[in-house]
Symmetry: C2
Subunit: 346 residues, 2 copies
């Protein structure tokens, strides 16, 4: 059952069948929720979610993998409830995820997402702020309207999850201005930005089902560890990934001087090599490909690559072990999605 980290060059695993199945269960509810937004927020959300083009014409395509809503539905199944019990949670985590994407794209100044112009790039900053705000408020409403006897703890989980996600972004913004970020701080940031919402997604279906605390906690740990494993792998690929496979320029994270997990490990645990790396990061030179290759070699020889790879594998193991008491059917599907999430960028 234990996953091993496959080398980046290996083909990514096939999209798990459960993703398509859960998306079919969640999409109508997500569309019904978005339909409740005011006309403008609705139109912009539909574009952002990949349902329409910028003029509002419907487009084909499925608008992303919706892994978070799949986790929420499987979470209800893991607690012995029907899939429908998890659907309001699935819609809510999808809305929170997209609220954060719309706001983050603005904050980060990113003009493209999935090869399409971002919301702020098309409609301006106020539209991006307000559409994100509306999606966040709507997410709570969907859980409150679920009719579940456990709507309060589910809504509570959603809002705590949202605040951890926001905190992760707060730290990310701050770290750009700092050159003394510790490894635990960096892990906290990644835990907020990536772990929190995957953890909340994996737990919310079980909470809506009224599952016992052990089940909820096990699913939350599973999601959290999968999130951190994904981030570690993503950070490794951001430096050493094959540009043809990742779709990002080679050494993209080094070019951006990103204080990713392997880089932070190398700086803080890599002795003299780590200090040389820290000096380069503090500098201004852009660096050609030869220079970036030299810096990537510094990260590796300071132990950053090996640590991140081993740590990702360890977290996948922890994630899978957390599910030991979950019934085999949903457990296998959750693990299938976990492996897909962790390796999808490979």
């Amino acid at each position: 059952m234990t996953a091993t980290m496959r080398p980046a060059a290996e083909a990514a695993p096939a999209v798990p069948e459960s993703l398509g199945r859960t998306r079919d269960a969640v999409q109508p509810a997500l569309r019904a929720a978005v339909d409740r937004l005011d006309e403008t927020s609705r139109a912009i959300s539909a574009y952002h979610l990949g349902w329409t083009d910028a003029d509002g014409n419907p487009v084909s395509g499925n608008g992303g993998k919706a892994v978070r809503s799949a986790l929420a539905v499987l979470s209800a199944l893991a607690a012995g409830a029907p899939a429908e019990t998890g659907v309001p949670g699935a819609v809510a985590v999808e809305l929170v995820h997209n609220f954060s994407l719309v706001h983050d794209d603005l904050m980060d100044g990113d003009t493209e997402r999935r090869h399409r112009p971002t919301v702020w790039a098309l409609w301006g900053a106020p539209a991006a702020i307000l559409t994100g705000d509306a999606m966040l408020a709507l997410a709570q409403e969907v859980v409150l309207d679920s009719g579940s006897a456990h709507a309060i703890p589910a809504a509570r989980l959603l809002s705590e999850t949202t605040r951890r996600l926001i905190h992760g972004q707060v730290l990310d913004v701050q770290f750009e201005q700092r050159d003394d970020v510790t490894l635990p701080e960096c892990v906290t940031m990644a835990g907020g930005k990536t772990g929190a919402l995957l953890s909340g997604s994996a737990a919310i279906g079980a909470v809506l089902a009224g599952a016992p605390a052990e089940t909820v906690d096990a699913l939350a740990v599973f999601g959290e560890e999968v999130g951190l494993a994904f981030q570690l792998v993503d950070d490794v690929l951001g430096i050493w990934g094959d540009a043809a496979v990742t779709g990002k320029p080679v050494y993209s994270d080094l070019r951006a001087r990103k204080k990713s997990l392997p880089v932070t490990y190398a700086i803080t645990h890599g002795g003299a090599t780590g200090r040389e790396l820290a000096e380069w990061l503090a500098g201004e030179e852009t660096g050609d490909e030869t220079e970036l290759a030299r810096v990537a070699a510094l990260v590796a020889s300071a132990g950053g690559r090996d640590w991140a790879t081993a740590e990702a594998a360890r977290r996948v193991e922890t994630a899978e072990r957390a599910l030991s008491a979950i019934p085999a059917g949903p457990r296998d599907e959750l693990i299938g999605i976990a492996r897909f999430i962790v390796h999808r960028e490979a």
Copy 2:
């Protein structure tokens, strides 16, 4: 019991004693809620709320009138519950109000609020977006943690209120680009930006108390009408207010070409004079004070000033009438706050 609109030059009513009393009840809970935010969001919120200076040093002063939280506490009293029942609602509406101020200041590019630099002006756009987001998520949490048997409908009211507030700002942003805004559209916008949260504030305490629908509805109507009355008076003062009293430059709303309620009435109901006004608004000339005085006279002679003044009085009457079945004590205090809100800028 019926309020009459006092002329703008008359002194504003004294601050109702109930505002101080309810603030004393709410402040510790608001501070405890803000304490739960991450360190950065907490520090920025404390500054925005007027508790600290930009370096985090405590400052004296009371950080605003907190009329929304006073309405929420009186709302519980109006339903026959103790003040404490309304406190989580009071904290939540105060957080939603301040979430919207922090985001609106950024969207509007306003660098000052209450004679202090705004959050985005001090810490940048990402900090303003994230602090607002965190306050919004926290607001829900406070209601969900209230322990009230009616937390779900209260949280539901809060999120619907928030979405109306957001919709009001969406329309406000859009109307800047349009020259065909109708009076009903303008009222919808003002209802969202000003009516929604005062309505939600006036109702949420009663919802937390489990009051019957008639009581909740009466309080919601009261808050809504007070909000629109306030906006109408504020719009009149934005054109004809005494700069020494309002603290804003004379004709400030005309200078900004703001499509306020009296201006929209004048354009859409003022015949040839309205068309002359519309042409000026569509133009580019800044206009000296003589020119602005001429435009203000156009608004007045097209009926905008008289309509807004009469409409405000009518809405105050509707607001007060809505409270007929509320016990006399809380009713008189609600009416005292309503008169204070409507006339505070005079």
